[in-house]
Symmetry: C2
Amino acid sequence: MTAVRIREVGPRDGLQNEATPIPTETKLAFIRALMDSGLPEIEVTSFVSPKWVPQLADAAELVPQLPPELRAWVLVPNAKGLERARAVGAYRIAVLTAASSAFTERNLNMTRDEATATALSLLAERGPNDAQRVYVSTVFDCPYAGRVPLADVLATVRAVAASSADEISLGDTIGTATPGDVRELAQALLREGIAPQRIWWHFHDTRGTALANVYEALHVSSDWAGFDSSAAGLGGCPYAPGAAGNLATEDLVYALERDGMATGVNLDRLARASEPILAQLLRTGPGSTGSGRASSRVQRAILAAER
Amino acid sequence: MTAVRIREVGPRDGLQNEATPIPTETKLAFIRALMDSGLPEIEVTSFVSPKWVPQLADAAELVPQLPPELRAWVLVPNAKGLERARAVGAYRIAVLTAASSAFTERNLNMTRDEATATALSLLAERGPNDAQRVYVSTVFDCPYAGRVPLADVLATVRAVAASSADEISLGDTIGTATPGDVRELAQALLREGIAPQRIWWHFHDTRGTALANVYEALHVSSDWAGFDSSAAGLGGCPYAPGAAGNLATEDLVYALERDGMATGVNLDRLARASEPILAQLLRTGPGSTGSGRASSRVQRAILAAER
């Protein structure tokens, strides 16, 4: 029986693209409900500039109100963000780079190697209780440059693996990856000698492939049993409006539990955890149907059954 | 490079639960467009009683108007349906049974063995050009009895395999199956000595597991490379309103092609094939969002990008 780890990213990755403002209190209730469903580790917010992402402007208010027993992660995009995160005591820190230079140039105005160096520099001062994660985006396709060569992905992952980062989260940023892609990358990582325990997979379900990708990764090696997912499939890709976003935590938990891989998550509680957020987002009406909204089929089935 | 076979079931399985009446001409255009996208075999309708399924009441008008080069399949639920199908020259015939007695008793007022015998009796008179398929529903879970014991599934499949049927389509009727379930059944079928070439897998995507199930089946053996799917994910399960229905053909083709398994299908043409049907179904308004409507994420992404 394999034990898998799930990193719930809904409160950060799920909400960051949502235009409807969600009150801090609703977010806190969401996070608490997720925790109560059995998710011990949650990425709760990003200390990104409020000008870029108004939805997460309350990061510094939110973090001090979190239950102390939660292993809360925060994303920091730059030195300013790190400073703000440190100021409120956050110490599980995630930073961002990408395997595609076209992506980092467009989004960060840096080459891939510059972006990676900048991200890793944020991890240089490590406190005794700190935990560190590096997101490597576009490990399969780039929205600006198409297929990202495996050599580019491995070069980036190698640089990250040489750092103090505990975790490397590999992102299928636009949700194009298929099991064959995952197999190729997973086998290459094994050949590279990257410790599987440091690898997390971050799949998007835009084309319905996310869960197939999870299982393919497990087929190559069950030693990397870390997957990012988002409650109710919240979140999406700004490049594909209307497309489903992150792998839904409900779908992941449902399948893994049924196949005997313990997650520790109560599926009923989990499905209810995002109801208040979904209600808030859906209240904006049919004219503003957005990315990833209520995209968990489990969620939709439950909600429909209640009507 | 594995060649896979896809049976498009959208015009039958996809439309049968839709309340909005679709004109015969729209269905014909849909079928032609699906064929033109590269799908050579399509299940086009069911000769079910018009009282049960008004949507398919036009079966006898539709079949004679189909392009002769299409390998068109029809479903027949009983002797009366077979008679109607024969009268208009249909000769690729699919019949229905289930692995769960609770299911056949509730839906057909027969035990499982009676239902299987009845279904097979419809295949007794086989014309020289005939092709035959037997759907075995509820091979994983039954909506009335829960888990269906593997022994019951194998007993049913064994009886069907002993008949003249060319194809046995195994249905995850309520979309609960996960890759572990598929592996167990697939391995059991291999042990039974059932020729993999006769087996087709019919997955529903209600919980996001359909494509993962496809890949798991291929992991056990690439010799059964037959999958049922429905354009735009049309169709659903009447027992889970609001839930996604059949595995979307777009999702299946996208993944298989990207992974080097030729399908012969042009994905762009395929995605456009169901647009007129989707438009018609969506025109019924947000108050009647139904099962499986526009549930292909590929489809939604394309439609959203065009807006």
